[in-house]
Symmetry: C2
Subunit: 197 residues, 2 copies
């Protein structure tokens, strides 16, 4: 159990993953060593591959293995609808619900005077550029129902006023709730009942 032991190194790194503490990291590493062939080897290869290829989409901020993500290059999704989310996890949650067939814009957070996060840090200029470039007719604000999320939604709605129709997810998102915690049905209901912002 020396610090330079690769097993200890692996435990230390695993413990830095969200949701894993030192104890669950130790359990996970023992499990990996026991399942070296069926799990550890494919996992180490998948990590190496993701480390080599994963990047943010230059257009929307989604993560994928190409400079422009598959959603942005899918002509069938250029239907004029653009869904603005805070985070890639929220984009994934929307995709799992399989109800939205337009494109996304991932802000990468919310405005926060306290943390010094302004519009430029949130890909908001890029959002404005996309309106004309992709013939956007409606922007759907799918931000979390938190104070920061709604502050950011209002700021973006102000910027978009007069340029494009703006709506927001409505019915079904609980106060203080985060999209990534909702079931698919709730997301579907919220999208279908979206209202003008």
């Amino acid at each position: 159990m020396k610090d330079t032991d690769p097993i200890d190194t692996l435990i230390g790194l695993m413990a830095r993953l969200p949701g894993l503490g030192p104890r669950s990291a130790r359990r996970a590493v023992l499990h990996l060593i026991r399942k070296r062939g069926p799990l550890l080897q494919p996992l180490s290869e998948a990590m190496t591959e993701v480390a080599r290829t994963a990047r943010e989409c230059l257009n929307c901020g989604n993560v994928s293995t190409s400079d422009i993500c598959p959603i942005c290059t899918d002509e069938g999704r250029g239907n004029g609808l653009l869904c603005v989310v805070e985070d890639v996890a929220d984009l994934w949650a929307m995709e799992r619900a399989q109800v939205f067939r337009g494109r996304y814009h991932v802000l990468g957070g919310t405005l926060s005077a306290l943390d010094g996060v302004g519009p430029d840090e949130l890909r908001i200029p890029r959002l404005m550029d996309r309106l004309g470039a992709e013939n956007v007719t409606e922007v759907i604000l799918a931000l979390n129902a938190t104070i920061d999320g709604q502050t950011t939604a209002h700021y973006i709605a102000d910027q978009l006023e007069g340029r494009v129709s703006v709506s927001s997810l409505a019915q079904g998102v609980p106060i203080g709730g985060e999209l990534d915690y909702l079931d698919d049905g709730t997301i579907t209901a919220a999208l279908n009942a979206r209202k003008r912002f």
Copy 2:
């Protein structure tokens, strides 16, 4: 989000780790992609290294990166005390308590008629071989305080009777408790108050 996407592959493999479900696997992978330099790259390298080098100690069943683990090769730990544990996680728990300076024997489970686990599956023959080879004077049975753990402890104590002194962890291990869940102080107390089996 195609099945052949390396990001999806990584999420699917991460979700198979104990303690991580699909949702926490997605969170972990997004975190890794964001922390590519400081976390994902070292983690993928550590996994590759562990996949290449980790193995079970041929003598005691501990995992390390050599055929015989550092505890078994440490002459200072050849003091005649041999601590029998179910699992490598239990060995690590004992080591964290920093109170035991002998060697270990990892059974790799407990006897179970139901699951077809007999003495040969548990390195019990190897335990017998070690008694003479390492001049063992006392075997400390540090098995979990579960029914299977105690059944196994009694079986081993019977095998060892008349050959070596046998003790077991006593005070401090709660009924139904598992070593890996105990704090270091409890383990220390249990070891210091061990009683003849």
